[in-house]
């Protein structure tokens, strides 16, 4: 049994783009769909908090007004609670694009890199090892996006994939660009559609299988 923790924001939680008061069902949101595709040998733990950023708290945000939004501040408690963890999937960075943070794409990538470094201090993998880490680059925001504090965030979001490749990849984690999973089609809302959840789940499940199959081959090759 492999334990996979999906640490993310409202797009991991499954916020319904047509009704912000509704959460998509387990079968609709990407971690649930991924769990179905991976089957009973994998235990998928959903840890998506709406409005979560990589490293900044957000006292301005109204969703859960008195909750800490910093993914950095809550990461240790989350990982230790779910340990031992075989794979940590991080999909964060979208909320860091909000204008009030004045973040450049490199700042967002560095924030995600910090989460990986914290993870490696904790030894929350199997038998005290480190968990594997898969970073999903968040989707590009629509060019029309000018509300919710995301005014002109589209341009920065376009540069996330390349910046994550430069800054996050060298830390020895896997990277999955969600725009590849979406065939390059930019979502027309901040929150993913049902079809986009499905496409992301397929790509994530495929990558997870690759990661663990490769691991098994390694074991066979170097007994």
């Amino acid at each position: 049994m492999k334990t996979i923790v999906c640490y993310g924001d409202s797009n991991t939680w499954g916020l319904d783009r047509h009704n912000p008061n509704r959460r998509l069902t387990f079968d609709e949101r990407w971690p649930g769909r991924m769990a179905r595709q991976l089957g009973p040998d994998y235990h998928v733990v959903e840890q998506g908090q709406p409005s979560r950023t990589a490293v900044m708290d957000d006292p301005v945000d109204v969703w859960g007004a008195d909750s800490c939004k910093s993914g950095r501040a809550t990461l240790t408690a989350c990982l230790r609670s779910q340990a031992p963890i075989d794979l940590l999937i991080l999909m964060l960075g979208t909320n860091d694009l909000k204008n009030r943070f004045s973040f450049q794409p490199a700042d967002i990538a560095l924030g995600v890199a910090t989460l990986i470094q914290i993870t490696r201090l904790l030894a929350v993998g199997p038998r005290g090892a480190d968990p594997r880490v898969l970073v999903i680059v968040p989707p590009v925001l629509p060019a029309s996006m000018n509300s919710g504090g995301f005014y002109k965030a589209h341009d920065h979001s376009l540069r996330l994939a390349e910046t994550f490749r430069q800054i996050v990849s060298p830390l020895g984690c896997e990277l999955l660009d969600s725009m590849g999973a979406l065939d390059g089609q930019v979502p027309d809302d901040l929150h993913l559609s049902l079809a986009e959840h499905a496409a992301l789940a397929r790509a994530a499940a495929e990558r997870v299988r690759e990661m663990f199959d490769v691991a098994r081959k390694d074991v066979v090759a170097h007994p």
Binding site: R23, D66, S67, C68, T76, A77, S81, L121
Partner: protein, 213 residues
């Protein structure tokens, strides 16, 4: 599908006093609860070793100790799992540590604060408050007091049922006295052995059916 969140410490995480490792899912009490309740219920495990009700613990932390503070993490945790049909809180054992110098009364008050945070969270359905089942932790083993970190813990923990009872009543939360169902291991004097997890899981399941049905 009903969602139940189990918010606790190492005795919810499933720390095995024999091995120091985590019991498997079917052995720890939230897993037993899930098996008892069946497929219409989703039981979410949120147990963290060393978690207190409302206190940071920098002694057992690489950071400032805030990750051990049950008050700090509760709201993000509830946001993460909303909408929730029932929140189960079993905390207070770590508050008994010598370094916190707390009375049973203060510990139960800390748990009461968590209940109030949950009520204000809007993490139930339609942004209403989720029902809360407060579990008074089972007393530690009488010999725990010989451990430096747990001086005086036994006598205080024997008052949990009464003090948590007051707090549950005040806050109109449901109460379960774990000490009436299970006892603490003689091995490390703090944690629960596998048969105790099974008994607790079954007792909680019976209670959950009363609350939710």
């Amino acid at each position: 599908m009903k969602t139940i969140v189990c918010y606790g410490d190492s005795n919810t995480w499933g720390y095995d006093p024999r091995t120091g490792r985590r019991f498997d899912r079917d052995t720890r009490w939230p897993g037993v609860l899930a098996a008892e309740l069946g497929p219409d219920y989703q039981v979410i495990e949120e147990g963290l070793s060393g978690r207190t009700t409302v206190w940071n613990d920098p002694v057992e932390s690489l950071g400032d100790g805030s990750e051990k503070n049950g008050k700090f993490y509760l709201k993000p945790c509830l946001d993460t799992h909303a909408p929730i049909d029932l929140l189960i809180i079993m905390l207070g054992t770590n508050d008994l540590k010598t370094r916190f110098s707390l009375s049973a009364h203060d510990i139960a008050r800390g748990a009461g604060t968590l209940v109030q945070i949950a009520y204000r969270s809007g993490a139930g359905h339609d942004w209403k408050k989720p029902p809360v089942l407060l579990i008074a932790p089972t007393p530690v083993h009488p010999e725990a007091v010989s451990l430096q970190a747990w001086q005086g813990s036994y006598d205080k923990s024997r008052r949990f049922a009464e003090e948590f009872g007051y707090v549950a009543k005040e806050n109109k939360a449901e109460l379960l006295d774990a000490g009436a169902v299970i006892s603490t291991s003689t091995i490390d004097r703090i944690h629960l052995e596998a048969p105790e997890h099974a008994k607790l899981g079954r007792a909680v399941a019976a209670r959950v059916r009363q609350i939710i049905d």
